[in-house]
Symmetry: D2
Subunit: 363 residues, 4 copies
């Protein structure tokens, strides 16, 4: 069944495989009148692009995004925006020797079981490369959000047991790990060097912070803000967990500590603390929305692993290819993208909540 279409009002349909002709996304339901140029999207593509750092795959892709429809005279027209990215450095040869092998930690077996066969070149549709289309969609969603004063920023909170102690968004741009703390970034680099020497890989955590969301966004009881974002983020390949605000820490806490007291600051409602992570009862509560996503270590490693073939024979596999020892740094912009797409949708969904506003709109 259709699983590559996401969203209600702001809807995206992504397509493309790692080693096919290209990847892309159709964005349907983007409001008309938003200024949009290819470079608005390209700058996010470049953050995800392979080949940029020594901690990422060596695959070289220009990842040049092209707008094929939905923009006229520099503005969105309200009709579907089609974005495409052609693959260049495909080197399918790398994968021919593992076409019959189920790589541990990968979706190979799932694809074969479900569909009867699979595009084995580089993971096909289950490749991390699939996220390029998400990033393109996210860049458009961010343009929409920026018109409404909403900002989405993610960063690498931790790599293995190395955790950022301070959060400086500025600092993220200075290190290839997108860590907001230069000292931690240095320690994490050393850790990753060691991991790479071992032919191994490492997990990590991305934190995302959204500023400027109006109060009351989210649709109870199933399309709550946090529930919707959770699905979006968990749908990213290597994510194994998500938490908002105090998250799993809240399970250890008491109500008298965990509750955030309200107060007024001028005409604005504020909270003394933000244990909730900006979401109460599924609605944005006016505070920063804060969530964290746990990424497992890249399953592609060059250590010997025991596994089976698609005909059930025991075998060993050493994955050579060109793989990231850690997906986290390149996934930062993917997390932003999926959050942005979801929030854009929820902001539009909220517009029909009250008849007084609807009457004003149509008068």
């Amino acid at each position: 069944m259709s699983g590559s279409v996401y969203g209600n009002i702001f809807k995206i349909a992504t397509w493309g495989e790692s080693h096919g002709k290209g990847l892309g996304v159709v964005i349907d339901g983007c409001p008309a009148g938003i200024p949009l140029k290819e470079k608005d999207i390209q700058k996010d593509m470049d953050r995800r692009r392979p080949g940029s750092t020594r901690f990422g795959t060596k695959r070289q892709e220009g990842d040049e995004i092209e707008i094929l429809s939905g923009v006229f005279e520099g503005k969105t027209t309200g009709t579907p925006i089609s974005l495409v990215l052609y693959n260049q450095d495909q080197r399918s040869r790398d994968y021919s020797d593992i076409q019959n092998i189920y790589r541990p930690g990968h979706a190979d077996m799932g694809f074969d079981s479900k569909y009867g066969f699979r595009d084995y070149r580089g993971g096909g549709r289950s490749s991390g490369r699939e996220t390029a289309a998400r990033v393109a969609a996210g860049a458009v969603a961010k343009k929409l959000l920026s018109e409404l004063g909403v900002k989405v920023n993610a960063y690498t909170l931790s790599i293995g047991d190395v955790k950022a102690e301070k959060i400086s968004l500025e600092e993220c741009k200075n290190n290839p790990l997108y860590m907001p703390d230069s000292a931690a970034a240095e320690r994490a680099s050393r850790l990753l060097e060691k991991v790479m020497e071992d032919g191994d890989s490492m997990g990590g955590i991305i934190e995302c912070r959204i500023k400027g969301m109006p109060i009351g966004i989210g649709e109870p009881v199933f399309d709550k803000l946090d529930a919707s974002v959770a699905k979006a983020i968990m749908s990213i390949g290597a994510v194994k967990g998500i938490e908002f605000g105090d998250g799993f820490g809240a399970a250890l806490s008491r109500g008298s500590v965990n509750n955030d007291g309200f107060y007024m600051k001028g005409s604005k409602i504020k909270k003394h603390t933000n244990h909730s992570g900006g979401v109460l009862g599924g609605f944005s509560d006016g505070a920063d929305i804060v969530f964290r996503a746990a990424f497992k270590p890249t399953p592609s490693i060059s250590k010997i692993q025991k596994t089976i073939t698609n005909t059930g024979e025991s075998t060993e596999v050493v994955i050579m290819g060109r793989h990231d020892p850690i997906v986290v740094p390149r996934a930062v912009v993917v997390v932003e993208a999926m959050a942005a797409v979801t929030l854009a949708d929820l902001l539009l969904m909220n517009m029909s909540a009250r008849i007084d506003n609807i009457k004003k709109f149509y008068s």
Copy 2:
């Protein structure tokens, strides 16, 4: 916008407020021919029912479920199943004094901001009582799953810092906390007694384990099994985080450890370990599906809290009502319900994956 309808093929629409006439759910898309009686549903309703333990609200509700449609001669007909539950012990008076107050940790402010006013009686639609309709839907989904050999079981993994050390599903029924470890249950009871004396509340963690799922269930790239379940579970009132398998622990791990090696056991594909929690690349991988959800402490506490009124005045609030000091034990069956509804939907969604199966179906 519509936020109380959930699912694709197996679709549910819930309705009802804490202190309105009742609650219910319409289940549309349930296959025909499943044996269904009210008592199949009632036994799950009873697990969630208020008034059953000293750690739950004192509100007394029979919570008798009634099937209004979609069942004929003891079997589902394939048409919508309407289930209703009438409220009895409503005592609206308890709430009249807080109708203008924004209770910390509650959705009061969100509802007022979004809709312009709210049903202030007992939390209205944001009450935990809303989950009764989810449980009813879940009981029907479980009947469907049981026809396919799939079993969903959740239990209280931890309350505050008291964690179950062993997992015995049988033991869950012996203690009011639904903990699978009697010694832990006893320690947790003592902890809760103390918390209640303080007029405070406590958080905890629920773990859920699903057995018998066929391989390959889940629809990439957005409707992955884990992403779909994550949304379902995060949409439950007090949940602040969810993780699958090693979850946040995977962020500290290495690929060589985290990858689960495959092997054959007879004609079945098995894994040596289950770090993945039964989900690889968004598909079920044949191992048990295991996830944990973190619940915050109940926000309703009888300690004095500082807050504001809906007109922005500073005030203090002491919440008297009849509240659970911890939501976890009664939420166990809600977690099962939302997992069951989601898995039922994904199992049906999977049926159109391959043309060979479709041809067989129609021949």
Copy 3:
């Protein structure tokens, strides 16, 4: 698969069978703040209610609608509105003798083929009684539309070959056929008396006219206004065709005749003619929206018909029950309801079309 849920933002889920406990609808996504009382809905229920005229079924039902949720202090709250209608005069006996017979013109065979068995009492879910839930939903949609100045009126245009020559909405209330022309109504009555004597039934056409729709409503390219309304209307049991404006007549016309020229009347855009029926390119064009739906004759007749049983034996059937010789008069309010539900949804969908309006909304 779920087929009883309809709409995007303003979404309805109907349930219930002819001879089950009752029928109802859950309306999710209705904006908050709309004044709503049971009598607002009841007046439309009464227009559809059986037992009111000699040209309708003799079944007696109070059809008293009850609001179970979503309304507080006389206004919609933005949460799901559950409406229920309990069956009273069920007389299942009438149907026991045809439980194994496939009535010509009915869905009996379809239900058995699809679901393996069926609720044979009075057509079960395929009974015309199912439309009671649609009427209830439509009454709420009309309340929403009336807040925006949109009016939906349908009437019986023709019964067999007797066609209304003039359109007076006032006159509709004066005759049991809801015809807008008293002379035609009289002729049609005589025709129907004759048809009833013959134990036969008759078809007819309903016309619907919507006034006050803003320009630009409808979502290209698939959710066009006319396409959306067409689905809604064609989903009503006995409808076999729908046309907008000149409809099938346009197929005989030339562009120079069929095109409606624009002109200005003050600051309003007007058209000299309305061959389009108020829809151009899928958008409302500011003129009255006009469509017609063709209803087949009621399939339940008391004449002898040849048919088969569910085991493939040849047989004859005479349908006694209590059936309408024509469905058209009672279907008038059903047509209004489905149009209203669809237009309400499209009006809400339109709100996110332009970023300038969205910015104004959120500023």
Copy 4:
């Protein structure tokens, strides 16, 4: 709001404008294992392609379809299929003089009202050229249907008052009007020559006949087969009406005539007549599905028309461009496409109707 995504399980997202870079469609939810080559699609593209007959636009487009994803080693993989078609002969100049004029019978005014501005080049998204993407999607849907023995064939039933008297699918290929009757085709050609001399255009009717549908397809009560097809067909630009079986004729008929009696032919259920057009109660009934769609005359004519500019000035317009004097012949394949996409979806939706079949599927 998103209006260019259509379908439930077999879902399509179309994009592209008349004079943009190209057009295309993403098909999500197509089952894996269907043989698919570009030429399978191209042959339908060629039937719709401009420039092929003297009764169509003179615009020259190769309309070469390219498969960008979702097919591996000649078979669909179950992942999204992206199809693209680049525009070549765009000649935007033709349109610059009418960028501020509201052409009668066109969607210009609707686009401006809804979105604040429009892509005025050749109708932008409201151009008939948009249907190229539908045809591409339809060709894939037909491949799926052919695997299940279902055949979809449409033809020109009438042009103006010239109607085909006999139906020979073979004959359709012999005349540029796709009429199934050579004598009628000749008369219609003469009529169109006259219309073109007048600088005018003509309407017509397309009939579609589907063979081989299993019984019981369609999802009551809103996603009935006929309701779903009606939406799909009415969403095609110039369609003003649709009817199934006897259609509007049924409104003049009696039950004793209109009901189709059942009988057995071997082990198959058959009907003596097919007044229903193959749909009873929203389910396929085993007979051929037959429907007709009424197309209005092309609104672009070279006769002088009175209209207004987008600033409300009165003006006259003569539309030069390269337009079809009649859309019907080229729309035949579009009707087939939208029917095929809808039926493919409904066939997949039907698979979850019965638990016995589901159990067999998963055993």
